[in-house]
Amino acid sequence: MKKLKLVTKVIAIIIICLIGFVGIYLPWKKPLEMNNKIKDFSLGKDFTGYREIFLDLSEANKVLDSDKKVVGDTDTYDDSSIKSNKYTKSEEKVNSSESLTVENYEKSKSIVEKRIKALGVQEYNLSMDKETGRIYIQIPENSLTDRVVSNITEIGSIELKDSKDSSKVFLTNQNFKNAKVMYGSTTTGSAVYLEMQFDKEGKNILKDLSENEYKKIEEEKSSSEDEENKADESDKKETEEKAEQKEVTIYMSGSEVTSTSFEEPVTDGKISLRMGQVTKDTDSLQESATSANAVATILNNGVMPLKYKVAENRYIKSEIKTNIIRNLLIVVSVVFVVLLVLMIIKHKIRGVLATLSYIAFVSLYLVLLRIFNVTITMEGIIGGIIVLALNYIINIKLINIKDNKKYYKTYLDIIIKLLPIFAMSIIFVFIPVMSLSSLGMVMFWGIALILAHNVAVTKYILDI
């Protein structure tokens, strides 16, 4: 009976190990094609590869229309389009020589970094050459990458101008507070809106514009030549410009976005721009929301003092070769095999049973990491090694306990000792830095499994 029990336990362990190390193969669509139902590991950019982006300072010249107003630059317009639109190429560069300072390079780098983070990138390397202003970026290759690349170099300026006279600028980034994405529903469908909030001064300007009045207050300071009248005198001259229905044009990063005349007075300092069509299709809505989020991110993170262009953009496979990872895993495995052999030598039969339990733990741990799509980074691997070491130490503590009560007492002691680190791992999971959230996930699942495994499997195998 005892032998049968032991054989049953060993078979159960072997099955668990097979699932963990080999997988569950089921027929895929074609009868002879088998597919592992347990997902493969999700690896971070340290192990897979990354998108490498070089941002260089634009050397473009400004492009002017027939009224000598800036319509763009030579990065946007080539010679043929300049000719066909009857524009002229100015001698003035988009980045003046006075603006090419280290301070502006640092500010640009800081804004690019904020945008990268705000666009949801959790792993990145960023560096800047202080002499040339070149910015070098490494980000993971995934569904976000192209969106990041297309948005990080936007200037991020916002201007509200008179539609009839674009030299009249009503609002700029100085009055801008923040932008956010909203959803609106009608009977015909839903739409995505970009809501822009302006500050107190902007709110007043918008109110005046939308109520068909725009007061222009001019202050004239006059000072008398007479010494007795040297005290400051200021004359306020108020002129009122009564406009007709004011039509305004919104420009973002120098490009015209839309024109509008206000249907009703704007008293809350907010302008909403519809992004995309009114639709019932959720995919289209999602796409509009993604674009709107990108615009909001650009506006919310400051105006770039310099214009950059993407000079190089390519995917590079990781420099950490697979044989380095394999060697690391071999070294770690050898260390643990030696420790397990020592456990067997010291504790004999109970050592063997505890070793089987340990192998089952490793197998279940690997399955959990794959099922829950935990991204493995360098920090994640270190966290995994810590978990394996912890479980080994705990097995050593539990191996010689034969009394049920004492087992649970020791187990409770272990729970209390793991509590701080378990709480830390939960906090790390929610930090938007891939290396730390990977570490958090690896440790969270590891500790949760330690607690479950040692009461369900180890106790069962050791027959307590």
Partner: protein, 218 residues
């Protein structure tokens, strides 16, 4: 025992001071992934074998450390990265590449891109705020749970242990001129986690011992 502990503390202090002195004088040695480096890209239509490229580059660059990494997923483009690639070295690599693959790549079309160095503080800054926040939370937990040991002792050890251990790690790296890399950063994180575990075990055992003594006295 006290003398032994004192000697250990003195040795740790000396290592940290030496480490800071070396860092002030020379800074950290960095792995290529963080250092100022040069890069050239080579492509063909037939495919490039990485080990063949490594042989070619090794012949030209000699003992200079370099990496050859595949670009995109089509197998016909690589980047060669090294601390420095001169124009002559680029020309040699291109010539040998053309000989190997029968291509007619022109050296003047291959640009030597300069990649600026990554500041170590930019690498580490992402870890500082979460590290400090979690340490403070753990400290509060320790003060409440281990009040029997004394909050001053608990606070001092909880704050000093991770800081001193990280300083020791970076001092050893600085003195031994081990290149600072992503692996070192993750090692630092692992060390922090291990210190918290060790502190928990130490305080818990001390608390249990004090409780037992209290029980036996009553």
């Amino acid at each position: 025992m006290k003398n032994k502990n004192l000697i250990i503390y003195i040795v740790i202090c000396l290592i940290i001071i030496a480490g800071i002195a070396v860092w002030e004088a020379k800074g950290f040695r960095t792995e290529m992934q963080f250092a100022l480096r040069k890069e050239i890209e080579l492509t063909n239509y037939t495919g490039i074998d990485i080990s063949d490229m490594e042989s070619i580059v090794s012949e030209v660059l000699g003992n200079t450390k370099f990496m050859v990494q595949p670009v995109e997923t089509f197998g016909n483009a690589v980047v060669v990265v090294a601390k420095d690639i001169t124009e002559e070295q680029r020309d040699s690599i291109v010539t040998k590449f053309n000989e190997k693959y029968g291509t007619e790549v022109k050296s003047e079309n291959i640009k030597i891109e300069s990649i600026p160095f990554t500041r170590i503080k930019d690498v580490i800054k992402e870890y500082l705020a979460p590290g400090i926040a979690t340490l403070l939370l753990v400290l509060v937990y320790f003060i409440i749970r281990y009040k029997k040991i004394g909050w001053k002792q608990v606070t001092l050890k909880t704050i000093l242990a991770p800081i001193v251990s990280e300083l020791l790690l970076f001092s050893i790296i600085s003195i031994t001129r081990l290149p600072f890399s992503r692996f070192i950063v993750s090692l630092g994180v692992g060390l922090y986690i291990s210190i918290i575990i060790a502190l928990t075990v130490m305080f818990e055992n001390k608390r249990n011992k004090l409780l037992k003594e209290l029980e036996s006295n009553t």
